[in-house]
Amino acid sequence: MALHNILAESGEWLSGDGPQSHIVISSRVRLARNLRNFSFPGWAKKADRIAVLECVKPQVESLPEMADAYSAYSQDLSALEKQVLVERHLVSREHAAKGIGSAVVMNRKQTLSIMINEEDHLRIQGIRSGLQLKNVFKLVDKVDTALGEKLDFAFHQQYGFLTACPTNVGTGMRASAMMHLPGLVLSEQINQVIQAVNKVGLAVRGLYGEGTEALGNLFQISNQITLGEKEDEILTRLNKVIEQILQHEQNSRVSLLEKKAVLLLDNIGRAYGILRHAHSMASKEALNLLSCIKLGTDLGFFPEDGRLLVDQLFMETQPAHLQKSSQQKLQAEERDTLRAEIIRAKLAKFPKPDGKKAIERGREERKEKEEKDGRTE
């Protein structure tokens, strides 16, 4: 299977049909594994890296999960192709910088990608739409078990799976969810949430940029600890925190509708106006404005059938995707013009935001709730 065939279709996680996918965009789990008796990729000589690669790659390709896979040596991928894979979260930024001695294998659905000779000999990654960390883990766990029967993984009686960086040792597992949290950002609660999450040993990062400056209101929540806790315990804890953040985000939206309807209407209305009429737009601005439209869709300001279009624009307006679609390398200015053009075209038939119904509905729901609370008290 050729790369352009795979990339012509958007990955499963972008389709947005997983559980809670309006707010939890994707769930991702990766396992770091290494072979015994070989230096880690960052320290190994080129010949050793190639030896590991030639030993691991055929095993990965012969997995039943990789029956319809795309497989490539890093040096055979162009810089643009690598960047597209990074934007789709199929390879890490670090892996995209690799040349001879590294490779990537991914399935057609783009739910499973295995990086060979990234920081570790193997990085087995699963990614799915919505909140389903345990399902994603099941997939990578199965693949890991199968590979572990063929390959001699470095495993220590006490420390567990050995990794190049001691922050990954033990389970070698990093699980994360990408969340869209405009409600918490607009209501200025995001920093509190980040601090609370940090306190329980989990990390929150802006997907693009940090803290309140996170672009597109997209955040990634992940585990930090990999040693001393079972995979299942880590996932359960992470899942619980994600569900709490989800709840906070939903509450903040209800309260914004109730108390700060003008702020919402203004943000969404402005985003709509600019996206529909701008002629030059940087990637940062596009992310932030599209986030407002996505929020508007969640709140019922826009019809539900426009959702996929908006979600896809998040990806299509990323620099590498933009250049891929235009089949050429573009200067920053040209990219901004093309980005605005694509957005205008895609949103040409997008109806105006209609917040009335949503706000009224919010009011009614609140009234009902108050009456109900009144009865039970």
Binding site: N37, Y159, G160, L227
Partner: protein, 165 residues
């Protein structure tokens, strides 16, 4: 967001580090990141930055000049990169490692998944021990027929199967 070092310029470099087992974010401006050598990983202890201040010191204490016989990796290399050279390094540098891992994780003992191969080898070793126990008991009880049978099973059990731990 302002730079954590000079508190004046806008931060452009964002780093996450672990201090005493807690995640800390360090935001640096261009000038300070250059001064700290963040743009030149060779010039400073990346280990300290990535794994918490003191991580490289911890490693240093565990025997200066020691090198991993398998991959040639040294403490100085760890200090530079915050990464090990090979899986054997975990044995060579185990002394400083323990304290470092304690600060980073929940304990220092893995409780999660064990590779199938090892699991099988372990089960195998346990099964062999069980057979040997039964054999001793059969001999003690003077059940020679059972003993002969067990001896036979152990004989077929052993070759090439006891190597793994």
């Amino acid at each position: 967001m302002n730079c954590d070092v000079c508190k004046q310029k806008t931060a452009t470099v964002f780093l996450t580090q672990i201090v005493d087992g807690k995640m800390q974010k360090v935001n640096l401006c261009d000038a300070c990141s250059k001064e700290k050598g963040v743009t030149d990983p060779k010039g400073f202890a990346l280990a300290d930055l990535l794994l918490g201040l003191g991580a490289s010191e911890e490693m240093e204490r565990s025997g200066v000049g020691q090198k991993c016989p398998m991959c040639g990796f040294s403490q100085a290399d760890f200090k530079k990169t915050g990464r090990f050279g090979c899986s054997n390094c975990y044995e060579v540098f185990s002394e400083g490692l323990e304290a470092m891992l304690k600060g980073m994780h929940k304990g220092t003992t893995h409780t999660g998944k064990v590779p199938q191969r090892l699991l099988k080898a372990r089960q195998h070793a346990e099964e062999l021990k069980r057979l040997q126990r039964e054999l001793r008991k059969a001999v003690d009880d003077e059940k020679y027929e059972t003993a002969a049978e067990l001896r036979d099973r152990i004989k077929h059990f052993e070759p090439g199967n006891t190597g793994a731990t």
